[in-house]
Each structure stands twice: as structure tokens, then as C-alpha cells.
Amino acid sequence: MRHVISILVENKFGVLARITGLFSGRGFNIDTLNVGPTHVEGRSRITATLKGDDKSLDQCVKQLDKLIDVIDIQNFVEGEAVGRELVVVKVNADSRSRPEITQICDIFRGKIIDVSTDSLIVEVTGNESKLQAFLELIAPFGVLEQARTGTVSIRRGKLYN
């Protein structure tokens, strides 16, 4: 099963290594990982998505919670949280294909952020399946480079505690 784990941490060096080490030491492969500061100084949020059986992942989450630098940890179940990813992709585009790519881009509410004579860079945000659909449509034009963030996710509604 796919899990989204959101970890609030103290922004100290080594914290990411402590966390990823707990996953890798148990044989979990992280699908996506995102780290960034929060609105509170000195605190960052890590969002990791990974697959694994519920029981061993639950144990892993408890171990993560024990880390001194981990302030809070949430294992989101389906529908409980909203999540978004961002992809930026450089595609082959000449004067003939440019309109079609632009059209696809519009449908996915993407943005063209760079144009050159023979390529475009497109930015799209959304959940995993939306990005997947977009990338499939764009693939025939020839993808030159691609960069993608991991999911960033946050619980719906008010903060519970």
C-alpha cells in the first residue's frame, strides 16, 4: 500500500540522514521525498511517500517518532490530506509542435516558463495521477529533461492535537 508520511522536524543537520536511515535499514524504498522549512523558524516538514505493508511501516513510524529531532509525525490515510507535486519538463518543440504542446499544457493548467527555438520548459502541479497523465501526453514530442518534486502534503481542516 502507498503511504504518505509527514514529519515535522527540528531543522538540524543530520535529521534527514536519521530519517532516511530508519527507512533504508528496514528495506523500505522511498518513492518521493520532499523537505522544506515551515512557517515556524527552525522547523522543517519532510514528506515521504513509500510503499510497504502496514505493520512494518507502522513500526517504522513509531521508530521515527522516537528520534529526538522529530517533533510530530503523521501517517496519512487516503482522503485525509491533500497533496501536490510539481514537475518541470523540457520538451522538444519547434514552430509546428509548439501550439499542440501549449494546448496540452493549458488543459492541465500548466505554465510555459521558458521558450527557445527548439524546446519548451513546462511547469505543472497536481497530484501524482494528473502529472502522470500529462507526462504521457507530452512524451511523444520527446522529453529532453525532467525534474519532479516529491509530494508535499498537509492534513485537511484544522490542526488536531
Binding site: 527540528e10 543530520g14 536511515g21 530508519l22 515556524v40 517518532d65
Partner: protein
Amino acid sequence: MNTQTIKEEQPLPEGEQGSAMNGADALVASLEREGVEVVFAYPGGASMELHQSLTRSKSIRTILPRQEQGGGFMAHGYARATGKAGVCMATSGPGATNLVTCIADAYMDSIPLIAITGQVYQQFIGKSAFQETDFFGMTLPVVKHSYLVLDAEDLPRVVKEAFYLAESGRPGPVVIDIPKDVQQAVFEPFFPAEVGDIPGYKLDLPKASDDELTEVLRLITEAKKPVLYTGGGIISADAHEELKEFAEVTGLPVTHTLMGLGVFDPAHPQSLYWYGMHGTVAGNWAVCESDLLLCAGARFDDRITGKVDKYAQEAYVIHFDVDKSEHSKNVHAHFPIRTDIKYALKRLCELAKEQGFQKPDLTEWFTSLDKWKEEQPFHYTKGEHITSQEAVEALYEESKGEAIITTGVGQHQMWAAQYYKFKEPRTYISSLGLGTMGFGYPAAIGVKVARPDKEVIDIDGDGSFLMNVQELATAKIEKINAKCLLLNNQHLGMVVQWEDRFYESVRGHTILCDLENIGGPDNLDAIYPDFITMAAGFGVKARRISKREDLRDGIREMLEADEPYLLEIIVPYTEHVLPMIPQGKSAKEILTD
């Protein structure tokens, strides 16, 4: 774009402003403020600054081990004997890597250990400098927490936190890695009086609710075959008295792990002593057949459970633990309770009294338990030669059961636990989770430093003892009166036992002497190495015994010695530790001969 960042106002901490000093002095001053009496420290280029400061300390004794691992186990022994954090120190690179095993060991057995290491100058970090290793990175999976101190001003706070983290909650090891420039930086340190806020670590211990505990009492009342299973958590929480009271209030039979040896008097009628792979038949069978298993401060290790799906199949499992990650980790807990054990046991007794708790009628259950105890005690056969079991039993009698015992790892470790009946907590000190050979003698040195009033004896095997034999020098030079009862069978006995049972006695590198001329009680000339001469080289008194008529005399001589002493007993390698639950089997498949 407008971004809002919340800055949390921190109140100014209380504490003491020190005068100008360098980082090393600030570290030592911080250790003194934590009440550290002794550090086990081996110097090197990146830590000599710390040693220079230690020479100036009036309250800290610095003991020089002969290898960093020895120092780590001395600190471990000290911590096990006292409950206070033990402190070891090493230089960067190889000095630090030699401590890794000690840190992993302390992590597995939840022992408060502070490992301080020197690190190369910050400007050389990451440059493959001489004696550089990423010690912070290397130890991440085996620490409760760790620090790489990049700013000398952080030192007093880091030390304060490190001790707090190591000793509180579920104890564990903490690493403090200090680059040499931080040790040399001169500044005016501020020594905080208290640990500040650690957002990810709750300073208060969790407490079970009265509702939870009332439900526990109700479940006990209804149980027909309840068992109380405890472990090292009782010792960490200093809760053995509460355990005894709770056991007596409820009338439950008590069994425990090796980590829990000494928490409950084996002579108590409710005691089933320790259980697991080589534990009592009664303890193993009781848990196996129980309908209610109350686990308090233990973690369902595989050496306890055997085959997990055959373990206590009928039991409703209540699991008290301060660490919630232990709940349902190995065995499903029907009723997990996150709590400080000492509080829970004490409160259970109070609630029992308030609520007029009625002990369940366990007459029938105890009839079975007593029968198993009587019919299947630990036993061995006296043959022509002294066996390890006989030697441990003789030591128990001659020392009146009052010594603190440390051990290496292997058969002797199990026999020590079987035939030296431990009545008091912190008297069986052994590497149980990690199972590190070579633990025994350095641990005994650390214990003796902590408890000079007690007789401290390492019961060891020849394989284990040789792994840290250099610490005889520490004992001799530092005048630390740690003894060793060396059970020499010229083999790696526990592996040999498995070879005999499961590998048709094919010896896969388990013989420690000349393969063509194996030493033993019938071939004394072939005994190798010559531990007596070795001890003489260290200036340590030693005696070899191979005949039964000398056994008691030899033990008495060792006990009377007012200095380090090695008593070597030549024993046959053919003995097996019994009972034994083979790996992957259940308690019902226990082998008794």
C-alpha cells in the same frame, strides 16, 4: 511576496556564567557538573586536548583502558552497576570506530552511555584527513541521539542534554563528537542549570491511566493461567520493589528475561526464574500455556519467544512499556499501555487496595507450575572432570551469592545465569541484546570502579576473554580488583553445541588451540594459549585448576585476593547448555537432554 515566519520566544535559561576557558575545559567542567566521577578514555591526536583538561580535574578520575572497546565496556559496566550514565572517550578515526561496538551494545540493552570522541579540525572534515571518519554518520542507527559540536558555545548545553537523554525514559547511548578546533576555542561558557525545551522529546514520563490499570486488575481477577513477564525495564526504572509488591498483591507467577535477572528473588515461591532459549522449563511452559500474559519492561526478543506464532498462543497480552514502539513490534499486544513501569506497578497496588481486589484462585495453575519446577530444574551430571556448571555453582556457594557477575558471551554466560542465583538487580551484567564477546572483563573493571564494596567477578570463556585480555593491564595499573573465573574449554562452546545439534559436529573454525593436539582436562600440556603465563606478563596473579579437589580452594584463593586475579578452570568442551529451545521452535519443543 509576503511570508510570515513565527519566531518562538525562548525564556533565558537559568545557569552559571563561567570565566574564559577553552572548549576542552568547558567540556570537563560540564561533566563535573553532571556529577561524573570517572571517565574511561584513550587519548589520540584529536582528543589529547580533552585529556589535558582531564588532568586538571579534581573530581574526575580518568582510567586508561588498553583498547577503546575496553573503555566502552568499562563505561557500560559502570552504567549497569549504578544506573548513571557511564562515560567513555576516544580520539577520532580508529579510536572512535573501536567504540562503535560498545555503542551498539548499549543501544541494544538500553544502557545510558555517553561516548565522547575527538574529531579532526573542522577545516579538515570531509577531506580524508588523517584519522578522520564521519563518526556522527557512522553511529546514526545505534544511538539514542548524537551531536557533532560545531560551536564551542554549545558544549555545556549539549552535555546537559546528552546526560538527560541517555538516562531518562528508555535509556540509551549518546555520542558527542567534538572537532579539535572546538576543543581549543577560548570562550566564556554558560552552564545551564536545567535541560532546556527539546521539542521532540517529552520530559515527563508517560503514566498509565487509572481506567487502564483498573481494567488490568479486572483481567487478572478473571484469569486462570496468568503470568507476569518482566525484563530490563524493571531495572532501568528501579522498580523491583514495586514489582515484588504487585506480584504479592496479585499472586501472579513471575518470570523474566536475562536482562531482568535479579528483579525477583528466585527463591520466592512465585518465581519461575528466567525463561527463553536456555531458561527454565517452568518459565517457558508457563508463558506458553498462559491465558493472560502481563509483560512489563521487556520486548519479546526472539530468544524469548522462539517461533512467534507458537508463542503464548492462548494468551491475552498486556504490554506495559515506556517506549510505545515496542508495542506489537514482535508479538501482538492486545492491550498496550505506554507508561513508566514504576508508576504503573505502584499505582496498580494502590488501586488494588482501594478497590478491594480479590486475588484469583490460582491453586490449580500453581500445582502445574510447581510440578514443572520440581521435575525440570536446571541440572547437570557430575562426571570425571569439573564442568563449567559445577564451577559456577561452587563460585555461587563460596561467594554466598553476593558477588556482582559479569560475563562474556556463549555457554558460560548461560551457565552463569542458571547456576548463580541472582537475587538483586544490577548483579548480572552481560551483553544480552548484541551478544558481544569480550564484554566480560572490561565490564567487570567498570563495575568494580562503581562498586568497590562488592566482589566483582567476570565469569568468562576462553574465546571471549581473549578478545579483551589486554584489559588485565588496566586492572593491574589502576589497581582495580576485578576477578575472572575463566572456564577454558579450548573451543567456542556455544557454536560447538549448535554444530553438535544441527551440523553433525562438523567443526567450522570453532577450535581455539592446536587442531592436531586439542587441549583439555586430559591433555593439559596442549592447552593454548597459556593464560597463566600471559597473566604473569601483565603482573596479574593467576592459577590453573583442572582437578575437582582443587576447585573450592582455588575459588577461595581468588575471592581472598586483594588484587586482580585470574582463576582458570580447564573444563571439557563436550557439555551442552540445557534446556534448549532450538531456534525457530516453540517452548513445547524444549530439549532437556
